[in-house]
């Protein structure tokens, strides 16, 4: 039992959990409104969206690459989702399906081009970021789609006490991604490729296939976030996804992911999102300039990578 406890304490996310609990208690103490049903609803709402964004990036960090186009894919799918319903009058399930298929195609493109060309995913996704975003702007001419079906709006606004209905989607995603990386062959293969691509290849893993699947998965998660954003905003904003980039890296890195690949933590990433959400919320509740979020977010990334490095070195020193 004590062994279990120690293992728990050594896990990537244990320190984060403590931080979250302490910060939560502190906030509740400073500002009782923090624990109000409505505030919890607001918190969970932003958590719902951001955790999907973070997972979308985390999947790619796991293979040791990065995906700058997460936001652009989310945005493109968001306006497609809203646009096809408004302009073509597509039924909701079909529009959702279309959004997911579009995302899968975007991810497929990222993955195939990266793998076949051997060019770094950074450059490829920088290019596709512009392409996807460019198509988005080109189609919408930067104007939102307003006529969202009532059912979608209702889904975006519905809640049970402090819990938004929407939370179901990210909850499923979290469980799914956790199972993928901890209990499924594909997930283990993704991690193996990220840790040592050559070794993975020699172990008979089809590296190309794994890389492409990871990109598709990333795009689908981003698309889910994009469509949830439409439901939440109650309109198809072309700017959806514009401000996802920093957050998408911040949460996995705070959660202990190694950017070189091969190691990510789903629980850590979720806690990373919680921390970001709390900071955001605290600044609003305490009436501080929202741009401090920007500042703190950056500082948090730096602190997290420093901490990860330090832990790594200490582990080496112990071994």
């Amino acid at each position: 039992m004590t062994d279990r406890l120690r293992a728990l304490a050594l896990a990537d996310w244990f320190g984060l959990l403590v931080v979250v609990l302490v910060a939560g208690a502190l906030l509740a103490f400073l500002q009782p409104a923090f624990l109000s049903t409505y505030n919890i609803y607001v918190l969970l709402l932003s958590f719902s969206l951001w955790v999907l964004v973070a997972l979308a990036q985390m999947v790619i960090i796991a293979i040791g690459q990065m995906n700058l186009s997460v936001g652009a894919i989310g945005g493109l799918v968001a306006i497609t989702f809203a646009g096809t319903m408004e302009v073509w009058g597509l039924p909701i399930p079909l529009a959702v399906l279309l959004g997911l298929v579009l995302a899968a195609l975007c991810g497929l493109f990222n993955g195939v081009v990266t793998h076949v060309s051997g060019i770094s995913a950074f450059i490829i996704t920088l290019a596709t970021l512009s392409i996807f975003k460019g198509i988005n702007i080109g189609i919408t001419e930067a104007q939102p789609f307003y006529a969202i079906p009532d059912a979608v709006k209702a889904f975006g606004a519905a809640r049970l006490g402090g819990v938004p209905y929407m939370l179901v989607v990210p909850a499923l995603a979290i469980v799914g991604v956790w199972l993928l990386f901890n209990r499924m062959v594909l997930g283990r293969q993704i991690l193996a490729v990220g840790a040592n691509r050559h070794a993975a290849e020699l172990s008979g893993i089809r590296v190309g296939r794994v890389v492409v699947i990871a990109h598709v998965l990333s795009a689908v998660l981003a698309a889910t976030a994009g469509m949830l954003a439409v439901a939440r905003l109650q309109l198809g904003q072309p700017t959806i996804g514009d401000d996802w980039l920093i957050l998408s890296f911040a949460a996995p890195v705070i959660g202990g992911a190694i950017l070189a690949g091969g190691h990510v933590s789903v629980i850590g990433t979720c806690l990373g999102v919680v921390i970001v959400t709390l900071i955001n919320n605290a600044l609003v509740l305490l009436g501080i300039d929202p741009f401090f979020v920007q500042l703190l977010l950056g500082a948090l990334i730096l602190a997290a990578v420093m901490l990860n490095r330090w832990r790594e070195r200490r582990r080496e020193a112990l071994a």
Partner: protein, 503 residues
């Protein structure tokens, strides 16, 4: 006996080298087949063709009588071939068991069944006599343990054809014995095994048949080991009988100490290392892979650091925080064993690669570096070492291995160092250039430089060194005064290694 594996006329080129040039190879069920050859002869390339990592440019591969074209490693595994590769191929953060089972993770209901993973892995760990928990993360293991995990990973596939590329390079004689017992058992059950090693004693103890490669060609083809003696094998490997190049005599001043270590400990984990290196002397550091030789060199240079004891350069205590100080203040240079990763800048030209150590000295006001000055400093060295390059502007990546190595020697000559640490100088270099390099190193010592020679190539060691220190486990195990008699020297060196293991 039937041939389970047959290679005919295999050719493979890399930019600048023809690694295989029409190689034939045949492997039968129930034999352990030694694949020998000097470094760079093409052994690993042949293995990589058989495991789907490289595609041959020409030639035919037949497995169980069928012509095959492996598109990737998976295809080779599915055809019943498993391999231990020369370089490490483990996933550091995953457990020992998961690494061993990675080719084929057992599943239940779509999920990995970790209980089963551990159970199956444990079976092979036990057979190899490796006492580590299957759940342990690979990155916490020692080099030898990792090597054994690597071997377990190949064995677990229970393939009919097993290829082992220098599996014993970093494990102890005892672990080797256990492995050999296991391999014989597998052979007797009908497996066909290819065994690559530099240690001829091992080959004669274990193998039934031998194929020798030299410069990418067959020096001999599937000769039964019972019909051939050690001298003949060596002759196949190096193409002549005389193993040790005659280099003449080289007297040196036994009082002029260039480098002295006293009880040195380092951040890499060395302890109690003492040695003395004199001007004009070549001091050999022999040891298995993972003995801590390159690390000792790096600690001296300031890449790691010295944490205890005393370092003296030219009689004065020295503290070396970084390579810049080592080079410019103490005049110590290091020729890395890993030319591509640490020695050369392959995408830059010859002039830059040689000039890099002296730019600071050549630069004028505001760091201004005139092209002509660099050229004038570099060109004589290119001539002296007979580097074969079309011009000083040629990219080093386009030169052959031997000429690349000459460039990395030249940059330290340019820097006019007093102490030169040479780490595995002739790995992957053809025989002719190898002799050139030996003569060059020897001549440098004769001209008064102090040379610390790190090498796992026993003949090279015996040919060049004046004294040989044997290292193991980040310590000095003993010292041998070299009388250039190969048999006597190799026995003396191995004795030190065995002794350390017994203790």
């Amino acid at each position: 006996m039937t041939a389970v594996l047959e290679v005919r006329g295999a050719e493979k080129s890399f930019p600048g080298v023809k690694a295989l040039d029409g190689v034939d190879f045949v492997l039968r069920a129930g034999e352990i087949h030694a694949l020998l050859g000097e470094n760079g002869a093409g052994k690993s390339t042949l293995i990589k063709i058989l495991t789907g990592i490289h595609e041959p440019d020409r030639g035919e591969v037949r497995v169980f009588g069928q012509a095959v074209h492996f598109a990737n490693a998976r295809a080779a595994i599915e055809a019943g071939i498993s391999a231990v590769h020369q370089e490490r191929n483990l996933i550091p953060r995953m457990s020992v068991a998961e690494n061993i089972m990675l080719e084929n993770l057992p599943q239940r209901l779509g999920f990995v069944d970790y209980a089963e993973v551990n159970r199956q892995a444990l079976l092979w760990l036990e057979r190899l006599g490796l006492e580590v928990a299957p759940e342990r993360a690979v990155r916490t293991l020692s080099v030898a343990q990792m090597q054994l995990v690597e071997i377990a990973k190949a064995l677990v596939l229970e393939a009919k054809i097993l290829l082992m590329d220098e599996p014993t390079a970093s494990i102890t004689p005892h672990e080797t014995d256990v492995l050999f017992g296991l391999l014989r058992q597998l052979r007797d059950q009908g497996a066909a095994i290819v065994f690559v090693s530099h240690k001829l004693e091992e080959v004669f103890a274990l193998c039934d048949t031998v194929t020798v490669l030299r410069d990418g060609r067959n020096a001999c083809h599937a000769v039964p080991l019972a019909e051939i003696d050690r001298a003949a094998v060596v002759k196949f490997m190096i193409g002549r009988e005389e193993r040790v190049a005659k280099l003449g005599t080289k007297p040196f001043d036994a009082t002029a100490t260039a480098l002295r270590l006293e009880d040195v400990a380092t951040s890499f984990g060395h302890a109690g290392v003492s040695l003395e290196l004199r001007r004009g002397e070549i001091l050999g550091l022999y040891g298995l892979v993972g003995a801590g030789r390159s690390e000792l060199a790096k600690a001296l240079l300031g890449v790691g650091h010295v944490t205890g004891g005393r370092v003296e350069v030219a009689g004065k205590e020295a503290s070396i925080p970084d390579v810049t100080t080592a080079l410019h203040r103490y005049r110590i240079g290091y020729i890395s064993e890993d030319r591509k990763a640490e020695g050369l800048i392959l995408i830059h030209d010859v002039a830059s690669n040689i000039g890099v150590t002296i730019w600071r000295r050549l630069a004028g006001m505001l760091g201004w570096l005139a092209e002509g000055r660099v050229r004038r400093a570099v060109a004589p060295l290119v001539d002296k070492l007979q580097v074969r390059t079309p011009s000083l502007r040629q990219r080093v990546g386009n030169l052959s291995g031997g000429n690349q190595q000459k460039v990395s020697v030249a940059k330290w000559l340019a820097a006019e160092v007093d102490i030169l640490i040479v780490d595995e100088p002739t790995v992957g270099i053809d025989i002719k250039t190898k002799t050139d390099l030996h003569e060059l190193i020897w001549q440098l010592a004769k001209d008064g430089k102090a040379i610390l020679l790190i090498s796992s190539d026993m003949p090279e060691m015996v040919a060049l060194a004046d004294r040989i220190l044997v290292m193991g486990g980040f310590r000095v195990l003993g010292e041998v005064l070299n009388d250039h008699d190969y048999g006597r020297m190799s026995r003396a060196i191995m004795a030190h290694i065995h002794e350390a293991e017994a203790a």
